[in-house]
Amino acid sequence: MTKLDHSEMTNEQLANAFVEISLREADAIGRGSVRGMQELFDQLRALKEALRARGPEARKVLLPLLSYSPASRSVFDDQAAQVRLNAARELLAVVPEPARATLEDLAMRGPSAQSGRAGMCLQLLDDGIFKPT
């Protein structure tokens, strides 16, 4: 994927790109591609920075992704869960309750990769190590 110019994108376009990157991230995790995980993390971070720069209301464009569950045959459970996980982490500072509920749901019932990550996120949050901004 070529580097996107986030400044030209609408909030909705950023949300769509957020989903695309998360889907690929789940695939990279599944296959154990370290370089892929690193690059997609960087891409997602850049996108989140662009969204944050537009204020807290802009970030709420990610809210529907907390329950992301497409009917599409091309999306696997682990990919959908990765979208929800990334959205929940990003929304903790903006809408803490639904974001936390999503993490708890993933920790309890998610596919193994996302379940573990959601559980660790909650633990580091509760330990005060992770301070969402």
Partner: protein
Amino acid sequence: MTAASTGRAAARGPMRPRTLACTADGVWLWPGIPLTERRGTALVSIPLPHLYQQVAALHGSSVHAPMLARTIARAAACLTRGSVHEADAVLAGAPLPPVSFDGAALMQATGKRLGVSVPDVAVAGWPSASPPELFEQLARVHDRKRPVALALEPVFNPDLCRVAPTNAPFDPTLHPRWPAGQPEGGQFRPRDGAEMVPVQWQGQAARLAARLLARLWRLLRRPPKLPTPSEPTPSPAKPVPGAEGVAPDQPTGIGHNRAPDDGASASSEAESAPKPSAPTANSDQPFTLPVERPPGDGAVAQWGQRAADEIRKALANNDTKRLAEIADALAHAEWIKGQLDNIIAAQDSPRILDDLIEGAQEKGPRQGYDNHHIIEQGPQNGDVPPDIIEAPHNVVRIPRYRHWQINKYYRQPQEECGGLTPRDYLRSKSVQERYAFGLGVLRKFGVLK
């Protein structure tokens, strides 16, 4: 099936073909009729009239129902105590007459319909005037029992799971082949007199599915919930031709203590969008696997882990139909067979730390499991003395897929670690903090209670 009483009843024991068998969940009549029911925590025999009706359908009207009920009750009591072996021994002495001729005909029709092997049990008596169509109609009653019958197939037919000793002589009469010159010349054929089964249930795939289901069956924590009669019989999940769920990657091998890595370059990774034609693992959709082996060990392991996750969900929902569907799909994909032990091991419940440490002390490897260091081996912990890394309390044996998931987590940047990988994040921490973090990871990834 033998067409005469041959005295095989003398060959009692858990390895005999039989119509009566038990699992931890109860006592069963072939092909999967429960003869026990749960009352609170106890297993008890089903009511006498029902018991007689079920058993007499196979063994004829001379079944002594009260005696049989007492035997079933004794076996059920053993199962309630958790002793399957004891219950099996009790059942071996069950006062059952040989299978009747009509019972045998019903078994053949049922076996053919469900695609399960018919146990090679003794048959005696005289044929009735019942037309063959009647048995085919009666066999339909068992349609909804297919998932259960598949799971129990190896229990009623121990030959399916028995492994011959390596020095056992090959008996060609037990393994007949089609004669040379025929289209299938040289290939194994059914034994004489054996019923043909539908093609999709023939051969190793069906047996593998049955064995896999039998292994999964033991993991069910509740008595199985059978599909309702209105539910369609699950059909073997057919892989989607030409389907690929993952992007091409490079084979790099699956090594100890390390998840398979596809080794793909960062640019190719970033451009590998999910394929629109990919088969789905969504639980609302049939579970399917690609026909061809996906390129790279990483992709194979990815499919295995998806299957393991699907099985975990089906077990949690007590969804035997879904289990049968997944077992079918796995059995028909030759390329995933190397992952089956990993898939089964991934169903382990969380355990206490002592159990995991004890597991790591066992000699030799165990299929589906790896030894994992709570404070990891490697340069990231180069400042930790080796005797701490290799100390018994730092090494645990855990399911391989969980191990790989944990390793991948440690290698991926995490927002909650300030954008560092957990490995880099822990570099500045004390040994105690690293150990506590490692225990936390084991808990959150479902390994440690």
